[in-house]
Amino acid sequence: MRPDGGGVPDSVVRVVARQLPGPSLMVAASLIVKGYAEVGDGFAAGVIVALAIALTYIALGAEGAEAALPMLRHAPKLAVGGLLLALASGFFPLAIGQPPLTHRPGPGEHVTKIGALELFTPLLLDIGVFLLVVGVLTMLLHHLSRPRGEGKR
């Protein structure tokens, strides 16, 4: 992310960048929870988390960011897992003889709620999209933030 190696970002940015991913996850979670009822969905939530990660890349550099957040290396699994979860939540009704994307519980039926969180199958789609977006964007950052040679900066 720092093309010519010049201009180290100042310490405020670095501290904020380190701290930001946690709260960004909270915001993302709230977007997903509000989900169907109000503004926000898995995609927006994913991009918010990815933005926080992007800021870490800017502030700490690719290697610094990946050292500070070692779980980032799981991004490909996250992306693939998210896609599979979303596809499963979309297509599982086929297995029980209904059109794809049919809800469980169906329209008009009782939906269990935990606070604002509604437990029904579209929630899984949202979570899948969220995981996929975080994974994909993190991978993109990882690949684009390094010159061709592996980690020789």
């Binding site: 926000g40 995609f43 933005l51 998210g82 794809p100 579209p122 690949h143 061709r148």
Partner: protein
Amino acid sequence: MVGRGGVAAHHEGAPRPALTADWQGWLACAAAVTGFVLCLLGWLAGGGGFSVPWAPSLNLRLSFALDGLGVLYGLLATGVGALVFAYGTRYLTLHLEHERRSAMERWRFWPWMALFAVAMLGLATAQDLVLVFVFFDLTAVCSYFLIGFDRAEREARTAALMALLVTVVAAVAMLVGAVLLYATYGTFSIPELLARAGPSATTTVAAALVAVAALAKSAQVPFHFWLPRAMAAPTPVSAYLHSAAMVAAGVLVLGRVHPLLARSEVVLDGLLVVGAASVVVGGVLALRRDVLKQVLAYSTISQYGYVVMLYGLGGAAGNGAAAFYVLAHGVAKSALFMTAGAVTMATGEDRLSRLGGLGRRMPVLGAAAGVAAATLAALPLTVGFFKDELLFTAALEHGPLTAALAVLAAVLTFAYIGRFWMGLFLGPARGQVGATSGLLVAPVVVLAAVAVFGGLVVAPFARLASDAAGVSAGGPVTLAPAYHLDARPENLMAVAAWVLGGLLLALPRVADRVSRVLATAGERWGPRRAYEAVLRGLDRVSAALHDREVRDLRMSIAAVLVPAGVLIGLAFAATPTAGAYVVGAVMGADWVILPLLALVVVATAVIARARARLVVALALSVVGFALAAMYALVGAPDVALVAVMVETMLTLVFVAALARMPREDPDGDVAAPSRRRRRRRDVLAGVVAGLAVFVSVWGFLSQPAADSVSAEHIRLTPAAHGGDVVTVIVADFRGLDTLVEITVLLVAVIGVATLIRRGKLW
């Protein structure tokens, strides 16, 4: 193939990797035997069938029936199949050992072989034209993988592609014919069509189209060129393909739809001409071939030419003779192919000129192959005698010209198959004989026994053929082939054929000259050249388009934008537009939107003019943020939220990517005039695309639809248990779109990883 004996001798010190028993092959063989028994029982029980809905909205049904024709081809496909598969278990093992390939390669062979047999069975019993088409193409797909089994050899790959292209492209004609019939008579079902379709122009055209597909499949002139190439396949494949599958599929379809063909004299005459031409071309070319399998391949063209001719003659006699002919030919031809394979495996040679006198060294194979050759040459005491008897009867019924053609065909057959057998098994000994495997000879012996049995007791064969012919003729057919020791015309014609054939055999120079002339003419003007020219032309056009499109990024973008713009422009030119464009009133929030739009225009102008990349990236993000602000203003906070976030992300990614690009201007070394020309061209492309989008968006906004989709979305949102319309659209109403789009997202990032990291995801 050539020189295999030498190779084998060379490796005698170092043992070849011996492969384990071929259980896949035996499994396929057992399945074929089961199928054979079931077919036989079904026939004795009087047939049967079932029909279940397949795609009711298209009137398609999965309807199968085991009628006479189905039984004939079913027995051929499973009976010959079982023998060929048993032969194949040994042949394939030796083949893989010779080429030092692993036993795993069997998985690339047997499933296709089994599917081939299944497809033939399906085709034989299918009663629906679309179903026939599906199985027809399925056999082509199987043959593609089987002919190309030795995929390391270029010849095998070309042959496989040629077989696929010729037969599949021609098969489209069948589908067109089926749709034509459906449009007129409202059904794809063959029995119903036969009941409904009277003689009309539609029936004639449709029947001709179906016939074209069948003729290409049966390798008839002018589509015959793919078949001799296809002998690049392993021998079991050739044996099966020529006798009971693929090539037989063509005449099977002719037999299946024959009542339709018979509605029009033109179609029948066409069949007669094509059949006769194939008989002559195949027979004459077979006279001079040197490679064993090529002799047999040209022979197949000629033999199916007989069958096509007989279908062209039509009537009870023609249909009966055709069905009987297919049966006798299937038995003989598969035996001859397996003979060629066994000889090549034992000697390492595959050319007549390098082989000879094998009769003393391989007496069993020689005798069995002799019976098979005699069957093809229609000598008495084999089932083949009757095939020619029936042929002569049918030809005589039609007229003297066809009778003469029939004799000519028999003469050619006698000559080339005599040359083939005598060249292999008689004369001075040539070629070294290595170890032979009993399993490579046994199937030939079984088939020879069948042929002799048929020559002695012809009744079951005749009944099988007359049942099949009953389907093709659309009424009961009785065949009563028998030996008659008198001077009836059929017998005289047979004797004439043997004498003339023997003469042709004794005077090889005449045959050589005629054959060489025809072969040269075929090389120079034959349809294969047309095929190659078409293929090359298509290649060139595609390469030229590709080169133009991918020369640089601008071209790639222009290749999408300019045609889109031109098409939209044409659509507008053809649509009345008077009064369609309205300039609305400006009020309320519009006063905020207008400055935002102005900002977008300014930013766009900057993008077009700017030289520095960073400026371009930042200006692009200005456009994005301005649009996001507009979303917020027109009451789509959801979209606005995502747009802002994505815009931020995009800007970051852009800046990161730009930082990695080389610093110097890529246009720097391009000469100024060409650069100016290119710039003009870019401007033109941009203007065309921009104008088209402008007029279509303006037109759309001028006339908001009264009952819009969005109103419906808003109405249905509570039903989908949601409060937020955008979320519900994304996750529910357009859920499938979303699923596809997120899949694309992952594919895209894998693409990035492939380009930058050679596919390493992290």
